[in-house]
């Protein structure tokens, strides 16, 4: 059997354990989809696969057990879904929508359930994920991006190359505040202790405030209300063999335009610095080579910064220690 594995991988199929069988990966930008598409998934799995579907870590589907020879047929079948979930949100696909996915390097932009459902969420995470998808897809660079509605970070933005954490600026109307302290106690307990009570009114330390919106949720008298939406970007989080680590904050109180601009520019940064001798260098390792300042300079180039934004002056990642003699001992040794 002759299969161009590079070509099929780019088409979102993979080489699998079972010789002759492949597996289709379906993107769901923002992780929320009309239920009608489940019928397409089901049809492909039943007719061409082995009747099972895997729910992927990044909120897509993988349909295993497909013959390589069925790829073209399946690309036709999946077409309505690519139209609905990619074309409709503005993703440009040069070769049309009936040839399957044109790239697989940049992973599905995932999102927590967001403000369509969750009480804590500060934005429609699915909608933002779709805007990001539109900005960066299709692309071969290996990038993982996710959007989460609040600092609880249910989507694990801290494990992404770029994690977007929605923030809200809480606005305080002291004429509505009746000094119940619900917001103060709660911020103290579940957030950062940014609020204090003085003269029976609340003061917010903007340097401690996370923009989580808890105070707004707790206020019984709408003294706290929602101001503008902002975003915190955490970068270069990863798992994997080399140096797994949580992402660190790059900017906070950034506008949506800045977020989309930075993400777009990151691809320029990758293009500028990627080690092309490797099969596909992940952006985190590029970052480790170039350092923070070069990253910052390139991704902020030409971006109109909103006045509220705060940009990290440095980022310090922890490193793993791989020589197991340094910290591990053999306790069973005689």
């Amino acid at each position: 059997m002759s299969v161009d594995t590079k070509k099929i991988k780019k088409n979102a199929y993979r080489v699998t354990k079972t010789r002759g069988k492949t597996c289709l990966r379906v993107r769901v930008p923002g992780g929320h989809l009309p239920s009608q598409y489940l019928e397409i998934i089901k049809e492909i799995a039943d007719k061409f696969g082995n009747g099972t579907v895997h729910l992927t870590t990044r909120q897509g589907f993988e349909i295993p057990g497909i013959d390589f020879s069925s790829i073209e047929m399946i690309n036709q079948l999946i077409s309505p879904m690519i139209v609905g979930l990619e074309k409709e949100i503005g993703v440009p696909l040069a070769n049309g929508f009936d040839k399957g996915y044109p790239a697989a390097g940049t992973r599905n932009v995932s999102a927590c359930i967001g403000n369509r459902v969750c009480t804590m969420a500060n934005c429609d995470t699915t909608a933002l994920a779709q805007k990001i998808e539109r900005t960066i897809f299709p692309n071969d660079f290996h990038v993982k991006i996710a959007v989460t509605g609040c600092p609880n970070d249910c989507i694990k933005a801290h494990m992404q190359d770029i994690g977007v954490i929605a923030q809200v600026e809480p606005l305080y109307d002291e004429t509505r505040c009746i000094s119940c302290k619900a917001c103060v106690k709660n911020c103290q307990k579940v957030a950062t202790g940014a609020l204090t009570m003085g003269n029976y009114k609340v003061e917010r330390d903007p340097h401690r405030c996370l923009g989580c919106g808890e105070c707004i949720l707790k206020c019984p008298n709408a003294a706290w209300t929602r101001g503008n939406k902002f975003y915190r970007l955490v970068i270069m989080g990863r798992t994997g063999k080399r140096n797994p680590r949580l992402a660190q904050t790059f900017v906070q109180w950034a506008s949506e335009d800045v977020v989309l601009g930075v993400i777009k520019n990151m691809y320029k940064y990758i293009d500028k610095h990627i080690d092309r001798t490797l099969e596909k260098e992940h952006v985190g390792y590029i970052f480790d080579r170039t350092g923070y300042n070069e990253f910052k300079n390139v991704v902020l180039e030409g971006i109109q910064l909103n006045p509220e934004i705060r940009i990290a002056t440095f980022i310090n990642f922890h490193g793993s220690i791989y020589d197991s003699q340094i910290i591990f001992e053999n306790v069973t040794k005689a």
Partner: protein, 334 residues
């Protein structure tokens, strides 16, 4: 007798009224709800008919127009004190029948309870005129028909929105604003006649039910946030606060802010003594005030059946279901 105006005509009347009055009514504040991308309907100034939100119940009632959540009573300087220079402008407040009936309850408390008249309340009250608008439909949790507060009289004007037209019933002093518009002798004010919820306020309530285990469920469920009281059009409790200004210790003020019998601290006395420590006891205290204690003093129930306490409770505690359940308790015990 009704005047029949189109929306445009009524807007013209409003512009004329604006020359003599400030117009206040329920307004929709875009994205100011406690949850992200949700609106807040609350009281605010209106410039034209389109500002008036008649579609949806306001989270807060009209009471804040005459009894503000936080009100300065005195300003202090080093050795003198003065009342706020306070010449409230004449205002027209738009509100629903339940809320207008609630004003009667506020009047009883602030103007007639005890031998003193609350001067701050009276000053605003005297300048306030009420335009009541009929409800086209009953909202979730409304039970005004059960409390007899779906109907009202003594308003300055009554309005029924009828599609393209508005039926208007001004009192004598306001008739001059409507002179010349279409009149119809036969049309009468229309009040909402049915709610989804019916409540039968039990007779024969007494201190006998105080120790009943019925209240225990609320001890477990209520978080003591006070939303039910702050949103209630008939709650009148307040707490005094004295402060001096940070930047000038010689100057300060005395103010009063809304208080809630569900919130910690309501009965706190020096030395750490307090009453009704359990939330269940506080629920009982509130419920008894609304459907028994107030009526014993003033011969009408305090509750006007607006259902806001149900609307806003984050723990889905239903006041109307509590009353209905209480009926069973009383029937069983007597």
């Amino acid at each position: 007798m009704a005047y029949i105006l189109t929306h445009a005509e009524f807007d013209t009347v409003l512009q004329r009224l604006k020359q003599d009055y400030i117009l206040i009514g329920p307004v929709r504040k875009k994205n100011k709800g406690k949850f992200s991308d949700a609106d807040l309907i609350t009281y605010g100034q209106i410039e034209s008919l389109s500002d008036l939100e008649t579609n949806g119940k306001s989270q807060f009632s009209a009471k804040e127009t005459i009894f503000p959540p936080s009100q300065t009573l005195f300003y202090f300087t080093e050795d003198e004190y003065r009342e706020p220079k306070f010449e409230p402008q004449k205002r027209i407040v738009f509100l629903r029948a339940c809320d207008f009936n609630a004003i009667k309850r506020l009047d009883l408390l602030f103007l007639e309870n005890g031998q003193f008249v609350d001067a701050y309340y009276k000053r605003l009250r005297e300048k306030t005129h009420f335009f009541v608008f009929g409800c086209e439909k009953s909202y979730e949790n409304c039970f005004c028909v059960s409390t007899g507060t779906n109907q009202c009289e003594g308003y300055d004007a009554f309005l029924n929105f009828k599609g393209e037209k508005i039926n208007l019933f001004p009192s004598e002093p306001f008739k001059r604003y409507f002179a010349g518009y279409e009149e119809n002798e036969d049309i009468l004010p229309q009040f909402i006649e049915r709610n989804h919820i019916q409540v039968d306020i039990p007779e024969g309530l007494s201190t006998k039910i105080y120790d009943h285990p019925y209240w225990d469920q609320y001890g477990k469920r209520c978080i003591g946030c006070g939303r039910c009281n702050f949103s209630c059009p008939t709650c009148t409790c307040f707490t005094m606060q004295d402060i001096f200004y940070r930047d000038n210790k010689n100057a300060g003020e005395r103010r009063r802010v809304w208080a809630s019998c569900q919130v910690d601290g309501f009965t706190d006395m020096a030395g750490g003594h307090s009453y009704r420590k359990q939330q269940g006891e506080r629920m009982r205290f509130k419920v008894m005030h609304k459907i028994h204690d107030f009526a014993k003093r003033f011969n009408m129930h305090m509750c006007v059946g607006c259902g806001r306490c149900d609307d806003v409770c984050p723990e889905y505690i239903s006041f109307s279901q509590c009353i209905s359940g209480l009926k069973g308790v009383v029937a069983h015990d007597n």
